[in-house]
Symmetry: C3
Subunit: 103 residues, 3 copies
């Protein structure tokens, strides 16, 4: 089984931050990472402690968003540095994984 | 790039277990973890083998839920012990990751 | 805290590939993995670079899907080999984690 070491990155956001388009633009047009998936949570809370949920009849419900992508470990450092320092993102986690290659 | 070792935890549930509010209350009010995100799956099956999907016109469709959070490794053990032993949760996984810190 | 080493697998798809039922059938009926969760993304792009989003008023919006499951490391290799070679899936990642066991 041929595998390649990769780093998976997850960025945690809230809808109200309105940062998603800027992040997608950066990853898609500037860094040209090979793929990105964005998930919307149905409930969450962050460091302010306020619980947000899609069950409330509240149009401003401000749900959590997670932007997930992976790339070669050596490419991740500069991408994450930019996301942190130029885009002020403060909830970014990453871990090592394997991508399974078809031969 | 400054990073901090963390442990990511994922708890797998089904809607019909009605455990979400109790878990959120524990993580939010008692353990005061810094953030939690809850995702709803569109399809899934568990150890009973029954497939559940949002494509069925079934009001009791009982979709999968995943509760995700992370914290320092030394805080995770007691949190997971409580989730297992006091709340009887049996599908919990965790892995090591890095949190990227803005300096 | 009793834990068991597992491997978590994530398969990245698009709705338009119409592969989900075939994958679920394989994992559920043939491999009998103990659980699978399928998530739908709200936005994403893949190696073709085309951005897909649920915000567009487009019935053919072709959103991302992620199929997630875990099992013992020694079972994963043959499962992933089948997914790659018999089902032609090319976006599969995996990583090591711990399953927390109730005693």
């Amino acid at each position: 089984m041929a595998t390649q070491s990769i780093t998976i990155v997850r960025i945690y956001l809230r809808e109200s931050e309105h940062l998603l388009n800027k992040i997608i633009d950066f990853l898609h047009n500037q860094e040209k990472v090979s793929g990105v998936t964005v998930f919307q949570g149905v409930m969450g809370f962050g460091s302010d402690g306020q619980i947000r949920t899609s069950h409330l009849l509240d149009l401003s419900m401000d749900l959590p968003l997670v932007v997930e992508f992976y790339d070669l470990p050596e490419r991740i450092e500069s991408i994450v540095n930019h996301l942190q320092n130029k885009m002020a993102l403060s909830h970014i986690v990453s871990w090592q994984a394997e991508s399974h290659l078809r031969l």
